[in-house]
């Protein structure tokens, strides 16, 4: 039995490794400047990262943040402003680090204030407010943020799509590794304990606030990294672009679609939703948002807890139904 379990874990690792190697090799087979597939993977990686960041605070710890776009936007703005001031350059690791740290600090400060005072829906609303305040601040920032027009960056610095692709892949893998390590450690258990019952967790000696802030900050850090990368990709940082609610809504959707509080959920959800969005925008460009909305409604109606839960809970039922239909079909034949 033990051996079987170990084998299962090994196959998981091997499958993961194969997928990662496939992603690494992709640009070698495809022309990354032109390939739509590379662009698709790039955006999906970014969404997976943000979704996992949200998953840590909302899925595992149970504190539903709706302010992830604040961290994304802050990361993008820090990158743009430091580059414009000449402090950092194009694809500067320092810029990434600064953006991530800036987002982390914002999360820590916001976290100390909001997480200590607010619970449940109130916390969600508070974080939503933080994002909106940042957006208005960027709009009214004068020459520092250049208002609604935003900061235009030197787009001649562009080298190749491969840079973006591999950076996104790296950030995603970094996030996934951090999340796995966290979740398997004492910290992960503490986070889940907080989600299940805060009072009981605190009674058992878990420093609830500290762990909540930790999860919130780590999620913000990786989201800030994504914002930074996005600034380099778009070469234009403006409030409707980087501080759009889409940067919180879409990853959250992916997370819930896949199953919040599971490791594979956000990854699965990100791929499913991205593919759905892309296919509809190719086939029915006129009405694709209608389809996207209807898709979300249908999924919540029929799989309200996400794909991962559906699969794990209904594994035997799915198989049974499959067998039954095959059996009936065979009987009819005979």
């Amino acid at each position: 039995m033990l051996r079987l379990n170990q084998m299962k874990v090994h196959t998981k690792y091997i499958a993961g490794l194969i997928v990662v190697i496939f992603f690494v090799l992709c640009p070698l087979f495809l022309n990354s400047e032109r390939s739509y597939f590379i662009y698709f993977l790039y955006t999906t990686f970014i969404y997976i990262t943000i979704a996992q960041g949200w998953n840590l605070i909302a899925g595992y710890t149970g504190q539903v943040s709706l302010g992830q776009h604040a961290f994304f936007g802050l990361g993008a703005y820090i990158t743009a402003i430091t580059w414009r001031a000449g402090l950092t350059g194009y694809f500067d690791p320092l810029a990434f680090l600064l953006s991530g740290t800036g987002a982390l600090l914002l999360a820590a400060i916001v976290g100390v204030v909001l997480l200590s005072k607010l619970r449940d829906d109130y916390f969600s609303l508070g974080t939503l407010g933080i994002g909106e305040i940042l957006r208005v601040a960027a709009l009214n920032g004068g020459s520092f943020t250049e208002g609604a027009a935003g900061i235009s960056l030197n787009s001649t610095a562009y080298k190749s799509m491969n840079h973006y692709y591999y950076t996104a892949l790296f950030i995603m893998l970094f996030t996934l590794v951090v999340i796995v390590l966290l979740i398997r450690s004492r910290v992960g258990l503490a986070l889940i304990a907080i989600r299940e019952d805060e009072t009981a967790a605190s009674a058992n000696g878990i420093p609830v606030l500290r762990y909540k802030i930790l999860a919130f900050s780590i999620g913000a850090f990786v989201t800030g990294l994504c914002g930074s990368l996005n600034a380099y990709y778009i070469f234009h940082v403006h409030p409707p672009g980087v501080l759009s609610l889409n940067w919180v809504v879409i990853p959250v959707l992916m997370c819930i679609l896949g199953g919040a509080g599971t490791f594979m959920g956000p990854i699965l959800g990100a791929f499913v939703l991205s593919i759905a969005f892309e296919l509809t925008s190719i086939w029915m460009p006129e009405i694709h948002p209608i389809f996207s909305g209807a898709f979300i409604v249908l999924v919540t109606l029929f799989m309200p807890s996400g794909i991962m839960y559906y699969i794990t809970n209904h594994k035997s039922m799915i198989m049974r139904r499959l067998r039954l239909t095959v059996f009936k079909w065979m009987n009819q034949k005979a």
Partner: protein, 296 residues
């Protein structure tokens, strides 16, 4: 721009803010009822408002029905719509927890926004009536007729909902379920029926708010989300789950916005509203009115 408005200007700002705020307030009442009864943050509320506004636009355009009369058509239609939405979707999903209902509401919002975009195009529309531009003066203060009408309509709608909740058996059941769902069920209340009624009323309130909006403001399909946010802030000001509080919260928000756009700058008005919102959440999570408010 002066930092200290004269008395007349000050009153003008307060009155304009009140007019603006009643619209937020009516939308907030619907949101607050729905949240109180079934813990659903129905963020598509603003989009429902805009849907009502477009319906009025068509009624005026094709059948030249006055917007005020069209309220009588909008309310029953939206009541039925709300009932269907609850029975068809939210009843199923509400068992799965709050994040699923939030997601469902969001999906509905995207769906309706893009449907409206498809049917009515992204162009900004407005509804013109014979009284759109008329106004009268009291002393130095100008009062727009259409805004006054909107405020009166909002007031009537609020009173009706309040009376419904206070005086009827169904209203009592709604309040009971909002306070304690399990106890309500033990006392023989069917929570699904009550929730469906609440949802229908909430959506109908969005309809009323939508008619009010189209009388005053030009609108486009994306406007809805902004109104949902404003309604949420109004609820936080007034305290969750109270009818009077939601209306008052909306009015406070409206006045705050008008005052800050006059004294500071219109660009910062939103940020100040959000900052006040967060401060209220932190220091007075029961709402500005606290326990003094009638808990409905």
């Amino acid at each position: 721009m002066s930092y200290f408005p004269s008395l007349a200007v000050f009153f003008q700002i307060i009155i304009n803010g009140t007019f603006l705020g009643t619209m937020y307030g009516v939308a907030a009442i619907g949101l607050s009822l729905i949240f109180g009864c079934m813990q659903v943050l129905f963020i598509a509320q603003g989009t429902m408002m805009i849907l009502a506004a477009y319906s009025v636009f068509w009624l005026v355009y094709f059948m030249s029905i006055d917007p005020l009369i069209s309220i009588l058509i909008i309310i029953p239609v939206f009541l039925v719509l709300g009932w269907i939405m609850y029975k068809g979707m939210f009843q199923r999903v509400s068992q799965a927890g709050p994040s699923s209902t939030l997601l469902l509401a969001f999906g509905l919002m995207v769906f309706m926004e893009s449907m409206m975009l498809f049917i009515w195009s992204p162009n900004i529309r407005s509804v013109k009536t014979s009284y759109s531009t008329s106004a009268f003066q009291i002393g130095d203060i100008t009062i727009s007729v259409s805004r006054l009408i909107v405020t009166v309509v909002a007031g009537i709608a609020t009173c009706l909902v309040y009376l419904f909740l206070k005086k009827t058996m169904t209203g009592k059941a709604i309040r009971g379920v909002s306070e304690d769902r399990v106890t309500g069920m033990l006392l023989g209340i069917n929570p699904n029926r009550v929730s469906a009624i609440t949802f229908a009323i909430g959506i109908a309130m969005a309809g009323v708010a939508g008619v009010a909006t189209c009388l005053i403001y030009p609108f486009d399909p994306y406007f809805g989300f902004l109104f949902s946010l404003k309604a949420l802030i109004a609820i936080a000001f007034g305290g969750l789950g109270s009818v009077g509080g939601a209306l008052l919260g909306g009015i406070i928000l409206g006045i705050l916005e008008s005052l800050s756009s006059y004294t500071i700058s219109p660009g910062w008005a939103d940020a100040i509203a959000y900052a006040a919102f967060i401060l209220v959440l932190i220091f007075r999570p029961q709402g500005l009115l606290g326990k003094a408010a009638d808990k409905v």
